[in-house]
Symmetry: C2
Subunit: 508 residues, 2 copies
């Protein structure tokens, strides 16, 4: 289907000024606002209710909706709205869009389906007309064929999808960008077990604003610390590379899951968003170029982004090992390039500390699957561990505290510190299966900060939203995963990869 | 450490009669019962409180505990107890075990650590003495270094670990066997989101009863439909092969996660349960020999076992495609071998049906990662899908219902039936992101039964224990996974693997 669309003229990502009226609007109009709470217009109206600025429902059949004055048309609005959300059928979109442009609107969100994703000429032409309107009138258009977007800093939930509420906790706020709306909605539910989600931006067919533009916005947004990205294809892959470099310059790591990595997936994408998907090699190159951390399993995307946000804090505080976002700015042409630093002589590995021998073994098995070294600690560390462990514990890597951990949390902290203090190790993974006192968690988190090495907790209970998980998510330096493999994959794919790779271990 | 232990004499798995007093006891004594609810003895006493038969706390410092008469010693008990649980320090175990044998006990569960897992001669000798007691006195011993066991049919929770309660729903009851106690506890929490768990049997150092014996018990237990197994090593791998064949004969599929697959993991196992771990090739051979479905990610073990229990029902009802448990009995020597059946001409693939284009693409990406074919449907099926879908839906594989699915669940059922009726497909995977009416779930489940093809739902929301999940788990023929990759891995590793492999697709 894709071949039938003309590629748009190359442009860089939209800047802050371009997207201000879309993503930080002062006023919003909803065309197709409805009294039926099950309809798209009704659901979107309910979601928009908390918008702090003027909200204008538009529907010629109502004088009032949800306690607000309702307007018969966009033309009749009392001011030029920053953002107009179109919850109308595809056949009515072009007319409303033209009215909105004439009324001076700054941006449109088009929810309707029936455009390029149909693979039919009429839908493609209608989408091309929307793109042309965006280009000629300087309007920003999100969609068509999308579920909308939300920005918690802006108090904006301009979507018919149910995005979960989130606490905005500085240092770990994830901006989520998803081409697929349903996927974005499901991923946003990570907020319910404690992740801090600042934005949910879905793009659908991306006739104008695409995921690259959203990434660029988040790169410069002071209310976002890391970016989670899921997308199928791009009209212009170079634009995403530019946006990713912008994010790196602002210290915002990106975790990204690329849909359509298989032949069957690429074929399906042509029927869905109709954007060019590129090859797996294209994707690898883009990740390498932009410092993007690739995530294979979509289920791991949000936890990986949260990990990167926390690891970035350690890095910003002066950690020795580079992280994903540490892409150096290219030197100016008239400045001599700095000398290439020598590779480190000793290379830190991954330490594992558990209260169960079985989960410790599983952790090092997972580390090996993802190419992470799990070396043995230095002799002084072993002595320190031995002093803290019961006689049947294992003063090695993986370190097995045995069930003693439940009676003596201090031994857990002591062993964690011994392992973190050992230059052998660059990160500590703790298989974790039960709620623990907040004071213990805070002490562990403080160790991560002191030694500037990331702590990863892997939740080993099938009580997946169980007690204590939100408290772990809320930590500033300790990341939570619900899978050992996901934790190891994230660590391996992050900028710590080189430092922790088995392939670079001396003698390994 | 392992080399220092003499290998025990080869024996087959224990039979029903051997394990009756251990796993279906009429009476239980707890030595080391305690009034301190945080101690091992106190926690085990609380867990045993629901045992329906006589329960005898033993502690010379108390006349009564938890409202029950407390006895000063095993010798003083009013009857020979079937099962004696030893919640005493390692130093006291040998004396209590000898007393229990003298009093005519049938079985011991030894919780204490400090045995072969220490790698030290004293612990190894103490463990060997327990094994010798088991052998010479005909006592069955579980442990040492274990958290205990639970059988819901027997009303027995003889463990200091917190195993979750479970509804026992016929047709999908999972018996869980774990060498590691902490791991068994965490896995058992799957009951909290609706899985039906009949047994949690942990073995620890396995000086006598090991995971093979537990698998053999479950193979013949009418209250268990499938077995989930996690273990590190075995004194005698042949015994597990025998137990697995017994399970196959009884139509009980086994999903198994083998700990210690990496070099680091094998080294750690030597410090933990001190059983020989074998090589990855040993494990593959054992799976092939015993019809065991291997599971790489521990987090997927329980959902995979639940899937196999449900798939087994379809198979027992007469499905065309073989499943894991369908291991033919070896022909008797005097009967000529049946002719080898010709390979099938057409090979069924995996169909994907979603309400979101993005999740459908992710599903076929995951299928390809696990070697599953996702062919296009027959022309008649396409016509049927087209009639049910909106113009912007995708009448193909993956089939995209679009957001229409939330307004018109009947179209979901129609498309599911069209795909299941197509001989092209052997299974149907549905990415799933929200609670649905019970009637819709029941109708879907009935389709799986009618077409005798498994349905797999992959939960795409990060609300991991969210509303509606227990209702899906409770279905008889539809399996729930919390990951597309886990669903595809389970299908690929099950007995359907051959039938669904891309490598056998004509023209693929």
């Amino acid at each position: 289907m894709t071949a039938m669309l003309d590629p748009p003229a190359a442009r860089g990502p939209y800047g802050r000024a371009d997207l201000q009226r879309l993503l930080a609007p002062r006023s919003v109009a909803l065309v197709g606002a409805s009294a039926n709470p099950a309809s798209l217009g009704g659901r979107t109206l309910a979601n928009l209710a908390s918008f702090p600025g003027p909200l204008y429902p538009v529907n010629e059949r109502h004088a009032e909706l949800a306690g607000r004055r309702c307007y018969p048309s966009v033309a009749a609005l009392p001011e030029a709205p920053d953002l107009v959300v179109l919850a109308v059928p595809a056949a009515a979109v072009a007319g409303v869009a033209a009215q909105a442009a004439a009324r001076g609107a700054g941006a449109l969100v088009v929810l309707a389906s029936g455009y390029a994703e149909t693979g039919e000429a009429a839908g493609q032409a209608a989408q091309a007309a929307l793109a042309e309107l965006a280009r000629t009138r300087g309007l920003r258009v999100v969609g068509p064929n999308c579920v909308g977007l939300a920005s918690r800093p802006a108090g904006l939930h301009a979507a018919f999808a149910e995005f979960s509420p989130s606490v905005l906790a500085a240092g770990r706020r994830i901006g989520l960008v998803s081409q697929s709306g349903a996927l974005g909605m499901g991923l946003s539910h990570a907020a319910e077990h404690g992740l801090s989600i600042s934005h949910v931006l879905t793009c659908g067919n991306s006739c104008d604003v695409d995921v690259a533009d959203c990434v660029a916005w988040l790169a410069e947004d002071p209310d976002c610390d890391a970016i989670a990205l899921a997308f199928e294809g791009l009209a212009d892959a170079g634009r995403l590379a530019q946006a990713a470099r912008l994010a790196a310059q602002h210290g915002k790591p990106i975790a990204a899951c690329k849909l359509g990595q298989s032949a069957a997936g690429r074929a399906a994408a042509a029927f869905h968003s109709a954007c060019p998907t590129g090859t797996p090699a294209d994707w690898q190159a883009l990740c390498a170029d932009g410092g993007i951390v690739p995530v294979t399993r979509i289920e791991a995307l949000m936890d990986t982004a949260a990990f990167l946000a926390k690891a970035q804090r350690l890095h910003a505080a002066g950690a020795q090992t580079p992280l994903a976002a540490d892409v150096p700015a290219p030197p100016a042409a008239d400045v001599p390039a700095p000398p290439v630093p020598a590779p480190p002589v000793t290379v830190p590995g991954l330490a594992v500390l558990s209260g169960s021998g079985g989960t410790g073994i599983l952790a090092v098995d997972a580390a090996e699957r993802h190419g992470l070294a799990t070396p043995q600690p230095a002799e002084a560390t072993v002595a320190c561990l031995r002093a803290l462990l019961p006689p049947f514990g294992a003063p090695r890597n993986p370190c097995d505290l045995t069930a003693q951990v439940s009676r003596d949390p201090a031994s857990l902290l002591g062993c964690a510190e011994a392992l973190l203090a050992d230059p052998c190790f660059g990160a500590l993974l703790l298989p974790w299966g039960r709620a623990q006192p907040l004071a213990l968690l805070a002490s562990l988190d403080a160790l991560a900060a002191r030694y500037r090495k990331p702590l990863l907790l892997a939740w080993m209970s099938q009580r997946l939203d169980g007690p204590g998980l939100a408290a772990i998510s809320a930590l500033l330096h300790t990341a939570l995963f619900r899978s050992l493999d996901d934790a190891c994959a994230a660590l391996a794919a992050s900028g710590l990869r080189g430092a922790l790779s088995t392939r670079e271990m001396p003698g390994a």
